[in-house]
Symmetry: D4
């Protein structure tokens, strides 16, 4: 029986090709993930905002799969409207599906608070417009953003050339200045496999959008898993 411990629905941007393999790579025994997509062809403020109209149809679809939890799997897409945007999305999903929901942004805030990481240095693949939205969202959520650096990408073609080695080198150049942790944002950024090596070489905890999403999924489902290779947040 697949998903005997839990089945997790995931709503993700249509261009994303990273979240599916990363969630399945981390999936604990007896936990399965089930996906459906919102239209997104460019990672701009406008594109991200437009995704919201697909949330409810997506929730309808996942409802028929009788999943135990639904994850809105996009960082910038769940914060593009500022603080409160994520909780609005959650409410929409829960209304339709009658199932507990979370978003990646909510997950990031949750995990950073759980570990009391207050001062953040952030690396993203985003353009500056999106970085500023993320900075504001995190500052308004009570964090101190020491630095935020983006690769300036908007298209899938740009994003999907990256690999974990490049993510490592990108992250090594971030300003640390007393940071409590490094946050590598974007569920479509191939950074999961760089976490362990970065934590060893830099000495700081590293959180990515997908590791934060998984951490929050497991916390809400009350499921324990051995995911230490994906960062200190998994102990």
């Amino acid at each position: 029986m697949y998903g005997w411990r839990a089945k997790v629905g995931v709503i993700l941007p249509s261009l994303n090709v990273t979240m599916e393999p990363e969630l399945y790579k981390m999936a604990p025994e007896g936990v399965t993930f089930h996906f459906t997509r919102m239209f997104l062809s460019e990672g701009t403020k406008k594109g991200l905002e437009a995704m919201q109209k697909d949330v409810e149809p997506c929730a309808e679809l996942l409802k028929t799969a009788e999943v135990d939890l639904i994850l809105f799997g996009c960082t910038s897409g769940s914060l593009v409207g500022g603080v409160g945007w994520d909780t609005k999305i959650i409410a929409q999903i829960e209304d339709i599906s009658k199932t507990k929901a979370i978003t990646t942004s909510t997950a990031v805030v949750e995990v950073l608070k759980a570990f009391n990481f207050r001062k953040l240095t952030i690396g993203t693949p985003y353009i500056d417009e999106v970085n500023q939205l993320e900075k504001k969202f995190l500052e308004d959520s009570g964090f101190d953003v020491i630095d935020i650096v983006g690769l300036g990408y908007t298209t899938g073609a740009q994003l999907h050339e990256e690999d974990a080695e490049a993510a490592y080198n990108f992250a090594r150049k971030l300003k640390l200045d007393g940071a409590d942790c490094i946050f590598l944002s974007c569920t479509d950024f191939h950074s999961l496999d760089a976490i362990k090596r970065l934590e060893k070489d830099i000495g700081l905890p590293v959180v990515t959008s997908n590791s934060a999403s998984m951490w929050s999924v497991l916390k809400h489902l009350e499921i324990e898993a051995d995911l230490g290779q994906y960062g200190k947040i998994f102990g």
Copy 2:
């Protein structure tokens, strides 16, 4: 870089919770799968036919992920309209996405012909109405259906209680009568892990909807993989 050998888009019925874990379990190194859903809440003729209207929007979504191939991942849904229904769906997907497409039914026919399996004994989770459609589709495609037995399920709740041990016992009771192979239909039927054991104990090749789908995906992508544990069709 995820999907460096190939990225495969998959359009699946919304209630299906089996195809995602089974494709990721079989996924060769460097091949990733990306999903989106068509609405289906009941496995009846009517429900299956209604899915067709979601094909084009789904193709739109996967187009933005720049996948190398799109799989319509539902057996009964790609044959419900009889011979030609599958090729019509393929044409729709290819028109929208400008990407090569296949369906599970097409894949099943392809693999059975490639191995010259002509006489089939078939196990399904379907109700009789759907079994008769499948029987007709396969006979019209040139196969001899010795027997077709269904579990009589229409809902996800029924389907998702099954596991590989039950599938094994179900399949052991099928009539063989000179069959060339056993075909276990339905991409939402948990039968993949029963294949190897059944082939050993019964001595006939066993094909499931998901093993056939994977076989066809790899053939079209010209990718070799060591999937012998999933049946003789992977040699």
Copy 3:
């Protein structure tokens, strides 16, 4: 030489098909188990009481195997007559066989007391009639039964459909309310493989009838074994 550390005789209900594979799965090197059966076709109070008349013939049989210890391997069958029923059975076996004997009920009480687990939440496959007998027996033995939930089965056919995944899901729904541990009763209930996962996800120790039986067998034989995968009682 088989059983060079110890040979253990086991008297079990005739319909039980779980205890033999579970004891052999846990068997430490050099310890063997040897079985004989009492008639039981239905798990009702009446059926359980009737088993008692088979105890002495079974003890006669195991005596010829020169075992080092005899286990009466049935939880409800060793408590159906209330406190004292188990010690009466033990006396019968020891009289006939001249060999130290224990019962599963006695083992359960022993292990719970050894770890000072006083408040219990209990899951069983039994009908309510049997649950009430078990509740009374444990309360009269000094425990506090917070909750006891049964699946309502009496026949082998019902019991033997269950597997460890189902046992996991069943146990996750038990009321915890300050319980010291979870007790999954019945030597014919497929729950052993769910213990470790449940302990991780719920955080409480989990004891099953077969893990308790094995714990007590090893304690009486003064044999140490690495059985940590079968629960915290094996530490």
Copy 4:
């Protein structure tokens, strides 16, 4: 679910402590064994004959376990009355239990014929009286007994001191004289682990009562298993 491929009932002599560990050592995935005992305190003609009166009650017990096959697990006990004694036992079990049955003697004959082993050299733990019965039974069944040597044991205490190293040395001294195979008789003789080494050093196939029983069980159940380490009959 235990025994999902098959559940096998076994009726064995009460003093036997070898068959249970040897069957569980060889048990293929998904196959379980369930035991009950006939009274036997001494391996003499008289003792062996007396076991027959326990066959029917044992079949009654195993019937409630809903096993798929019943094995009468004693070589000398299933041939003590000469050719036909085994088929009479089988008929009794099948009448009561409504389940297919076999005996060890029948299994031995079956496997030897299947491999066309006609000339036998035999080692047993028996006294001469029993050896002569076995010799006659096999000769009357169409085999040529080149030599039969016994250790002269009647009690469990004698039998159970033996181990596989002793069985190896005992078997190395048998007369070969053109034998097709070596047969080590008795389901309570610790010889299974000596098979592979003997086959390598002597160059002849080696069959034991328990390897023959397992071979026949699997053949009747149509189950394939990788048991090559237990002798050439498992290919």
Copy 5:
């Protein structure tokens, strides 16, 4: 004792950062590699020709290491002057060092002839100027160059961004048209780890400059090694 089977000297272009890790990855037990560099800052005809003046000083250096064989480890650098350029370099090295020498170009010719690969499709990181030199050299050596495609790189910075996944995708796009094998040229091109996958997916043998160099080194030293994972030429 390092290099107890053989010590191999290697003269390589100064910008090359691929040959050292690839040779050490393939190095058989007891074989060591020892390096020294010729100045090269740009992969142009002029740059490649200029390397020749460093050959003799490099040979002087390796002579003191008492190596058993010297490899001039650059494909284009050993063919830039046309047929005969490689043998001239070999003569220079042997004169100075009194040690057997080979070059990568010589090695490539040797291995292709040994396996009778006559029709070649070639992928390189070079600019067209260099590709034309390579094409001519191979045609003058008796091969048929079906196609040669270059990435157009001249600097280390360009070359060293490549990895095996990119090499795989680059090679999959080469024209096959009846080719006997694929040759991926350049000892500074990260292609070694793509060989096995390419051979499986395309079905043709794949030779790289470094696999050819290693093959020739081992042949001249009469050393056998299990390097099957680096291509069919290692059988």
Copy 6:
């Protein structure tokens, strides 16, 4: 991509055949080493001094490989001119290559100070003339040299007969007299594989020229690696 964490250039004496295999044996994932040679045919004071004139051309060569750090890999060669000789070499390399540089002598001093090893017992393959230079350099750097013993070698032929077993036996005979650690000098001395065994049997930390060089390389690059098998300095 080779060397994605770091690329390290190494300038080594031409006769050295030990440093290349030892650095590659220890190389952490994603770190590569790139070599070029200075002329040295005899390990005498005169020979070692003469190497200095090759430093700048070597730095020119490694500059084109765009390495992240350059190691002058010779102990005696970096101290032959007394305290300050190493820093002069470093300055030369850094001037030419615009890249951070270290020498083995500097590395040795660094690691010994980092662990506060003040009293040293030293084993070398050198002649006495060189031992005296090393002793003076280390004493002038603030260490207490309890004993220094040399094998009296000057040629590669002598050095390269040694193996780790001989190094073990040589080191076991050194005077300990309150030493804080054992230092086995020379990057061309096959001693790396003896470290762990020596540390266990003698109980003191053991540092070799190559383990010290690697330690310092990793410290300057801020790279963590699991090199505990190469001595206590890697924790």
Copy 7:
């Protein structure tokens, strides 16, 4: 090079067939054992005393093998003459061979004192005559012998039937009565493989003649080894 850490000579009674395999089973990397024999055909006081005349010729033989230490490998043979008998034997060996020597008895005393085991319960294969000599020797050496039990063997034929399972069962029956440890005497008693299991089940340290001999050999040679599976004395 065999024995590069140490070569150990062993003088053993001619009938002993246990010490050679047990020492080689425990031998640390780089330590070899070399044997020669003293005549002994019966384990009686007279036989044991007579061995002494073979000590000097044996030492002559081992001298030519240039071993680093000589072990007189017999417990009773090194204590048969009471306290002082062992040191006399040591003196003889050292005089002849000019090599450090120890005996098994000396080793036993050494290890028991090192761990402060004062109260001993002893199992031996000896006849009572020899047990009394051992008891006296140990009491005169300052130990308290709580119990000493012998199997009453004098010949090799008797001794060599024993195996580790029998040794386990024999040792489980010894009186404990506040003992600090169990000592299983005799270098020809197959008890080494029973140590770990006994220590776990009984909870006391177990020392055998061969484990004590090895412990003392390694202590005198200053060699560390991971022999924890042979008892707590190896930590």
Copy 8:
């Protein structure tokens, strides 16, 4: 029980430190080796001849160990008197011990004939005087000695510095000239670990004195073992 398949006595020259570790390295499960020594301090003709007087006392010692076979473990010592010398030694041992005996020379002849290796190239550690004796013995036994090369050693100190890497290099320099195999003579020559590598690199079978001794021991005992890593003679 040690040596349950067989116990093998070995009579070896007192200075030999190679045969014991090499026989124990190859020893099949259940086969043990038991040693005693003949005086030999120098490998000269005179020394080898003098060993013969120790044969009978050694046989007396091993007789008490009740071994199944006795091996005289010295090549030159069993051929020093020419053809017939070995059979005389065998007769002496068998007379005294009443046990089957072989010598290394006999074993070498046996194995070479069994594989029909007629033309030999031979490497030894011996002085020329001994080489000539060996050459004559083998020629008189019907072989063609293409070449025999010795290291010129007589003492243990010389012999025991050698290791398998040196043996490899020594053997690579032997003249092949149509040889059927390479024979590396002397049971005290560390060559066993070089066999496999030599066979791969040279392509000829390699036999050493110890591999031949083991081959012959197993043949006479009718024991099969997986010793393929020690050369082609073990298939």
